[in-house]
Symmetry: C2
Subunit: 223 residues, 2 copies
């Protein structure tokens, strides 16, 4: 059985889960406590980070971007990287936007302060950092809205890796109840569209009692 | 003429310059003062970051990973992403290592403190951050050495994108004289090999009078 080493609230782990689900590939989820730096895990990925995928034939892959490109190449059904070199470049640009810029400007701030600092360092969230993350977030939601006004999905007519990378990040932020959806109706429409896909179900059901999600997190109508 | 908007000491700009040179593609270098947030430039890349490539047919591409994948697909001569899906995954894993992990743990610390803080914020480098960057650097140089002990180039028999991503980062660090090469003989042998390629020449000649390079920066024998 295919195995995915993950952390439940890591956007990068979520991205791979979504790709596997969109491609209807079965897999087993293994929660990896990366902070323990288990030797066995470091042998799989010397970078010590999740996600790591062990495919059915034993191939071990690290880094979410690497895993997604690999899965799309090896399992070409329901392609997620477009159909020509320019479309592929636009999709990858947006993936880099969410994996890089969004993650750095928003998720690192909010998830870092709210979850990682609290649970792993016993610290108190720094309100200045939270504020910066939330301010940056509004610009990103505006950008999602701007794209969705012009396109059916973020990178064009069909769902692609760009939507998946964005949904992976947004789902983490929404879990923590940091999005005022009423102020971002277009981004909300896009998120509602992807949220209603079967591939999202498993992710929306994942939660921890000690750190519960926002009230509307799994509701398709945001109520 | 193909145009590359860049910042001379950005490892990501350097990575694209090396790819263009390895593929023997002519291009014009345009220094972009990203801190000015020029409107004309933001229209090319709303993320406001270099590198940005305008290809001969007018296609505009942002994000160094996107540009490199695109160039390799459109100009397949001297391929840099390997020849099968597993080799490609290993190459991309190492690219992600240097673009992500190395950049975050080493370059952000050293370049951030030494150049960006000094020239753009009139600040004084924080010695604790410099020390952390240098400590992390030794682990990365050991890893390069470990790979090079087992392979002809970082990802296998031939020069690939992995070597280029690594050389782009290392050249920036070496410019700032932060590498004690005598302590890392294997990493040094690898760097000597890539440094002697014609594609590196242009990069090794790039310097600024107000921020001069280490004495050995452009010397192929490190003397």
């Amino acid at each position: 059985m295919r195995q995915l080493y993950h952390f439940w609230l890591s956007p990068f782990s979520r991205k791979v889960r979504l790709v596997l689900a969109e491609k209807k590939l079965e897999f087993e989820l293994i929660a990896e406590p990366v902070w323990d730096r288990r030797e066995e895990f470091l042998l799989l990925n010397p970078a010590g980070e999740v996600p790591v995928l062990r495919d059915e034939d034993g191939t071990v892959l690290a880094d979410s971007a690497v895993i997604c490109e690999y899965l799309d190449e090896v399992y070409p059904e329901n392609p997620l990287f477009g159909d020509d070199v320019k479309h592929r470049a636009e999709i990858r640009r947006l993936v880099a936007w969410f994996d890089g810029k969004f993650n750095r400007e928003v998720t690192d701030h909010l998830l870092g302060e709210k979850l990682l600092k609290r649970f792993f360092a016993n610290g108190v969230p720094d309100t200045a950092i939270l504020r910066a993350g939330r301010t940056n977030l509004t610009h990103h939601l505006d950008y999602i809205g701007w794209l969705f006004e012009r396109r059916n999905w973020l990178a064009g007519d069909h769902l692609t890796m760009a939507d998946i990378a964005a949904a992976a990040q947004i789902s983490v932020i929404d879990y923590m109840d940091d999005i005022t959806w009423s102020k971002h109706p277009r981004a909300r429409d896009w998120y509602m569209r992807i949220k209603s896909r079967p591939a999202m179900r498993d992710l929306l059901a994942d939660r921890q009692a000690s750190f519960p999600p926002s009230r509307h997190y799994a509701n398709l109508d945001f109520e």
